[in-house]
Symmetry: C2
Amino acid sequence: MNVETPRARYRQVADELRNAIKRGDYPQGEALPSQPELAKRYGLNQTSINRAIALLRAEGLVRVEHGRGAFVQEVPTVKRVRRIPRGDANGSSFAEEMRKAGLEPRSPLVELKTVPAPPVVAERLAIPEDDPVVMRKRHMFVGDRPVQLATSYMPLTVAGDESIALPDTGPTGLYRRLAERGHRITRFVEEIEARHPTPEEAEFLNLTEAQQILEVTRIAYTAEDTPAETVINVFPSQQWRLSYEWTAG
Amino acid sequence: MNVETPRARYRQVADELRNAIKRGDYPQGEALPSQPELAKRYGLNQTSINRAIALLRAEGLVRVEHGRGAFVQEVPTVKRVRRIPRGDANGSSFAEEMRKAGLEPRSPLVELKTVPAPPVVAERLAIPEDDPVVMRKRHMFVGDRPVQLATSYMPLTVAGDESIALPDTGPTGLYRRLAERGHRITRFVEEIEARHPTPEEAEFLNLTEAQQILEVTRIAYTAEDTPAETVINVFPSQQWRLSYEWTAG
DNA sequence: TAGTGGTCTAGACCACTGC
DNA sequence: CAGTGGTCTAGACCACTAA
């Protein structure tokens, strides 16, 4: 069962570089030696070195910039907490949580418009495909680093109009405004799935296709158990920890 | 920004194989053509084909058996649901959930013994390192397929002795027995993290190191807010969806 | 044994970056 | 321009599987 085959050389190189990074030989943000340099140092071909570095990339330990070099990834791990019960979906908003962690958050609104419901959204909101929905897309940064994508959809019949999503005060405010319009949110379902990023997600989040993201989909139901909103959050899995907290009985 | 470089050939091969699999040209469990065969078909070197297949492996679409071939992965997606509130940690047990999905589950007890608390466990249970803890390790299968690893730890002072983990009826029974001994569980915290598998995890779950797992760590707290138990669940991320469901205040 | 996948080389060419 | 990373080849050898 392949219990003790000698480890492939490129894996050994990856191991050594990984250890060197964790040991602090290459501080965060610093470039690793170039591939030809490493090839010489380890007595290997550049192809093999490239392969070793591909492993570190997939692990999220290293970020590569073509033509510039391979840099040790700064990975400020970020935690997202759901406290239940808590009156609403967010124990605290994204911004509060980041600031509590000593980080400066920004979450610009990228897009706000009414569109025909895409299939998955229609299914989650239990409405016919192509029914109009208000879509709100946000890019979230901590400092300069992109850390999260959030896209929310609401049936236009529930939202009334796009302005419900403004000012952009996050879910807490949104749910209050929904309640004012007669849609009281009483139940939430969040589904968590790991997958590889789409090319667009990979570009914004600065990921390789070999890496993974966590997709957290929330559906908010009204007292009549009608879906009123769904939110799709995309997190680079290496940067995030999700936490759920609740009390028994 | 590398927006439209022609896609690398090995990526194109991966794309075509991926589409062929999704189209059903290669049904689940069936072998792909051999690497030399594919190399001939696409006019590429075996090295490049190997690279293409490595991509599919990392995506979990293909399982490779050395010396035998590359097989289309059967991926029965499995869902784990937490319903809150629900009286205890599990809305329903692993076995119930699997059977509800029409799958035959087995979760043999692999190991049950008292050990000195490893550092992470000690931290989570808020006890000194190397204090004795009862460790229970289970391997979980659906049919013949390994799908999950679960390891739980309880301070020996809380457990009394190892027998509390027997008969192996899952957390519901366990928490009842804990309550009988004066440890009423009132609060739960689950943390979700994505990471690459350790070699042992990779072996049992039949994963590549390039793939990822979801690690769900639960801590159960008593009414006095003392940690009484911690469970570490390891799920192949491609096979699982996690779901949390709760009602608003 | 023949057929499978895994690794490695020596050399090449390309694309991207920064001077 | 020189230096960086990304891809590809032709050929080789190894380890594992099945007969």
